[in-house]
């Protein structure tokens, strides 16, 4: 019985290992066709689901499209056509069939640059927006507020963290984005609004774990500083921040990891078009949103390209989270 239980718990634990390896292998093998086809250039190629002719004119068109990419207007034209392609799934499939028939003549190419850039930029905007507010909240909760207020505000902040992300997305689209668009101009769905809503979403998470890091500062240290006549600001600046610095950085990076992989809060707001944003209030797309909105319709190389994106996202967030947890947060302990 003892042995059985021990084996059982060992196999449950090993399942974690198997699932993680399984995710990696599965994503990799599903992405294999796209990896073989596009290689690492995938990461730098801004075209998604684009027909290119492989005949003699191909070279011409290739160079042409390369030059065109630099020009905003033509590029956007391009996008509108692609967008329609995306919307009409049937037509997409027809394309595929056509592809099969005269493969020698044309093929569809996929590049991941736009969603990769979109993911990084939304995360960056979210971070820039959320960081100062989250730090303020954390300081307020850890050092300023009286115990009972800190307790209730703390719970409120943690509840905000528990609200499903899809709610943030809907609220953002219908209530937050119009206000932002009024102030900044541009589209309601854009890199900016997506990033800001993402920021609102990671705000409570970031504040809560930063507060936890700050709370690790020993009371004796703070008391000795106060005993020397330091103000609260000085204690926070000179004692608490230096003491919990590593933990705070870890918390920020962990929140960043969350933001990178977030789907629903962004999906409503980013616009979901495969085009590089020229301005902060242009619509674009991120990796999770590209997956959420195109997975159902995709097949063949298109699906494989989405898996390629998923693999990239997985690797990036794996790296970011590992960095946060095992470098900063471990060190903080």
């Amino acid at each position: 019985m003892e042995k059985i239980f021990q084996k059982l718990s060992l196999s449950s634990a090993s399942l974690v290992f198997i699932i993680l390896i399984g995710i990696f292998i599965t994503l990799f093998s599903a992405a294999k066709p796209a990896i073989d086809e596009f290689g690492f250039d995938f990461i730098f190629n801004p075209d998604w689901n684009k027909e290119v002719v492989i005949d003699a004119p191909q070279a011409a068109q290739n160079t042409q499209s390369d030059t065109l990419e630099d020009e905003i207007i033509t590029d956007e034209d391009d996008v509108i056509i692609e967008d329609e392609d995306d919307m009409i799934a049937d037509e997409d499939e027809e394309d595929m069939m056509l592809d099969d028939e005269d493969e020698a003549l044309s093929k569809t190419i996929y590049g991941g640059l736009v969603p990769i850039v979109g993911t990084l930029l939304t995360t960056l905007i979210a971070l820039v927006f959320a960081l100062p507010i989250a730090m303020g909240i954390a300081v307020f909760l850890a050092e300023i507020a009286p115990k009972n207020i800190s307790y209730f505000v703390g719970i409120a902040i943690e509840l905000l963290a528990a609200i499903p992300s899809i709610i943030f997305g809907m609220w953002g689209l219908y209530y937050f984005a119009p206000i932002v668009a009024d102030i900044v101009g541009g589209y309601q769905v854009s890199l900016l609004t997506a990033g800001l809503v993402l920021g609102v979403m990671i705000l409570p998470f970031m504040a809560a774990i930063t507060r936890d890091s700050m709370n690790t500062t020993p009371a004796v240290l703070k008391e000795s500083a106060y005993a020397l006549g330091a103000t609260k600001f000085e204690v926070i600046k000179d004692i608490i921040f230096p003491y919990s610095k590593v933990g705070i950085i870890g918390s920020i990076i962990l929140a960043l990891g969350r933001a990178l992989g977030e789907t629903m809060a962004v999906a409503f707001l980013i616009g979901s078009i495969f085009v590089l944003p020229e301005a902060i209030n242009d619509p674009t797309i991120s990796i999770p949103v590209a997956m959420a909105n195109n997975f159902g319709e995709a097949s063949g190389l298109g699906e494989s390209a989405l898996f390629y994106l998923a693999l990239i996202l997985f690797v990036i967030s794996f790296a970011v989270i590992s960095l946060a947890k095992f470098y900063f947060l471990k060190k903080a302990k």
């Binding site: 021990q6 290992f17 303020g136 609220w171 992989g261």
Partner: protein, 267 residues
């Protein structure tokens, strides 16, 4: 001067806390006004095809419930392994991997389950959705179990062993019991988290307009339907999405608060 800087700084901090709370208030008030405005008791009686939410709410609970049935035993036994049996590098590795998995993008987990279950079985299904949610849940349960068991004093285990109990009985009869409240809270919070998940369900369970208990076909999901409805052009669909969001949020917050309440009472 020092005192002035101090005042400014404190004011900024209080101000940012107010901003944070303002956002919470704004979201909740929006939800209340829009959600309650479209809320009707009939939503609980009709399925989506008749303009209600009954099948979606039940479906979401079934998906999350099934995920818990899979995820809780696996997560708890794995947590027990890490804390009670595992020594050295392997247990530490599993703990680290589980920590990473806890923050892995949920859409990637959806894609994984799509590739290993939806594709081979030929279509989206309730099972696939539940498995995706279970994968989300396992690391959270592992983390809670691991942490809560580590708080149980070593002497309690030794006392059990010294009475002639074998190790697994000590773990099941004594250690788990001592950590029960904490583990239950963790599980409730994990449940609250997965019941509000959308991304892992998008291409695993999808959703359905009809009431269904058949887990081998596309399965009604509240969150996926909210996403669909909110993107519809008609005002009525969006109103329904708001009502659904309101119900979802209330459910999540109630489960979450219940978890916190248990811990507080037991302390």
């Amino acid at each position: 001067m020092r005192l002035f800087i101090n005042k400014i700084f404190l004011a900024l901090s209080v101000f940012s806390a107010l901003i944070g709370l303002a956002f919470l208030g704004w979201i909740l008030i929006t939800l209340f006004i829009k959600g309650l405005g479209s809320f009707h008791f009939n939503l609980f009686l009709n399925d989506l095809i008749e303009g209600g939410l009954r099948n979606l709410i039940i479906g979401q609970f079934i998906l999350a419930g099934l995920a818990s049935l899979i995820g809780i035993p696996i997560g708890m036994t794995a947590g027990i392994y890490i804390q009670e049996y595992g020594r050295g590098k392997y247990a530490a590795l599993i703990r680290d991997l589980s920590d990473i998995m806890m923050s892995a993008p949920s859409i990637v987990i959806g894609a994984f389950v799509y590739a290993i279950i939806v594709v081979p079985t030929g279509g989206t299904s309730g099972y696939a959705g539940a498995i995706a949610l279970a994968i989300m849940m396992i690391p959270v349960v592992i983390n809670t179990t691991d942490n809560m068991l580590s708080l149980v004093p070593r002497e309690l285990r030794e006392a059990g062993i010294a009475l002639g109990a074998s190790k697994y009985r000590v773990i099941l009869d004594i250690v788990i019991k001592a950590a029960k409240v904490g583990i239950m809270t963790g599980i409730l919070l994990a449940f609250a988290r997965i019941i509000g998940e959308t991304a892992p369900l998008l291409f695993t369970s999808e959703t359905s307009n009809y009431f269904s208990l058949n887990l081998s076909e596309s399965f009604p999901s509240l969150t996926v339907s909210i996403y669909d409805l909110a993107n519809e052009p008609e005002e009525s669909s969006r109103d329904l999405a708001w009502a659904a969001s309101f119900i979802l949020t209330v459910m999540v917050l109630i489960i979450n608060l219940t978890g916190r309440f248990i811990t507080r009472n037991k302390k």
